[in-house]
Symmetry: C2
DNA sequence: ATGCGATTTTATGTCGGTCATATTATCGCA
DNA sequence: TGCGATAATATGACCGACATAAAATCGCAT
């Protein structure tokens, strides 16, 4: 019998729970997981479901199984951190500054170059799609929820326009980064909208078919994004400090 | 009863077979797969095994399932092409020039920057590990098999030294690229060894803690790699043309 | 006692079947 | 002809048993 209310898609749910234990380091690299039967009783599902969950985590490089020897956590180097779900689970469970820093760093590496390629080789249809996303961002005004969705399409559009499947796949990472930014934007509601003119500059450069300009424009947007995230995180830190000071005051 | 000899790990095996059908376009984006029961009889395994295989492909973003509606191939944008296995399957089934071009392009974007970060922030222990890999490459001489293994460690070492988990994950992509280069090197046995002085230059720059120099040095290696791959592929093309001409001559 | 080969044990891997659930398709009625 | 009730169906979950491989153990011979 399934546990109770919150057991929607048990399969994905269990996979996420186990993944969280791994990415948070509760179950460390090299450790052997409990047996499948024990996991089944711990998570209150059948062994079949556990096995399907484990095969998801195997596919993402988190674990490996050997007959008789058991299932162990693989070393980090094998974790596919560029995977959409794994990214989401990691941030959801442990929204650390280090994670944010690394995510921003890798975006700074990839997106400006992708933008240059887009300016050089993107089709007019590709660019039109990017422009449409820009217009929707503009139309969203100060509603940061309505803003973030076309924002993602803008960035994905650039990656798609490169015609490079690997850069397209990088869209999953960008998506995680934007979701992260969106969450942090509650600490600074005006921030997202400030990126609009930077997006405009990118759009102009790619329409002008100017790779160098496009690269620089995207680089400036990345700079802004980094500043926003840094300041949001420091706000969060001081917010947490204040909250814990209050808690101590209560006692 | 399993089919016959070549059914080692049926689970992974079936997943790979289905993945190949998808990446080669036999089963196109948006199409609905056969029912699980039909797949089970097609691949001569139980429905349980099919479900585990499908959950692997779900985890890699290739397919999605909805109750009653069936399982369909997701659009390419959702495929996690940066995944180690998916990369391997794609190249194994369809070693196209386009694939090689894209893989090289994304390496050119990521690795020089990673190299600069490595020069700036890598620990001495990290650099020592990279140097060890270099020495083994040197010791391998003209044996391109023995050369390629430390070659991968060299590049992975740089990515690891950045301290960025996402760049570390990119090691899977580099691995696929190097395996590809290795396969192509049979067409030009001397080529791999020629990269040694380029690796040496990288090593010197990162020991000198010179990010700009390291970036440039890695960039030059990427240029060389691209030239090697291009020439190997054109050799392969002309080889194929000759072979087919011979076949026609036979008839 | 001690190294080593045979045997047992055990955890993952595979199987077939049943029931649950969601969603589509169909049927029947107004 | 529209629409609500009903049936059909494909995935989702569960169960119990057996297969297989590798680790752990046992027993034999040295």
């Amino acid at each position: 019998m399934p546990r109770e209310a919150e057991s929607r898609q048990s399969n994905t749910h269990v996979a996420r729970e186990i993944a969280k234990l791994i990415v948070t380091g509760v179950w460390q690299e090299g450790w052997t997981l409990p047996r499948e039967i024990e996991l089944a009783s711990q998570f209150d599902v059948s062994r079949t479901s556990i096995r399907e969950s484990l095969s998801i985590l195997k596919a993402k490089g988190l674990i490996a199984a050997r007959q008789k020897a058991g299932t162990h956590v693989r070393e980090r180097i094998n974790w596919n951190m560029l995977d959409a779900e794994l990214l989401e689970w990691t941030w959801a469970e442990r929204p650390s500054e280090e994670f944010a820093r690394q995510l921003t760093q890798v975006r700074r590496i990839v997106e400006p170059e992708a933008c240059a390629i887009c300016a050089e080789r993107g089709s007019d249809a590709d660019l039109a799609r990017i422009e449409r996303a820009y217009r929707e961002m503009d139309a969203a005004g100060m509603d940061s929820r309505a803003y973030s969705e076309p924002d993602l399409r803008f960035h994905r559009g650039i990656l798609t326009a490169t015609g490079n499947d690997f850069l397209v796949a990088f869209g999953a990472t960008v998506e995680a980064a934007l979701r992260m930014s969106f969450e942090l934007s509650t600490l600074n509601p005006g921030a997202p909208r400030k990126s609009l003119p930077y997006h405009r500059a990118i759009l102009d450069e790619i329409w002008a078919r100017n790779p160098d300009g496009a690269r620089r424009a995207m680089h400036r947007l990345m700079d802004l994004t980094e500043r926003n995230i840094t300041s949001a995180l420091s706000r969060r830190r001081s917010g947490e400090a204040m909250a814990s000071a209050e808690r101590e005051g209560d006692a």
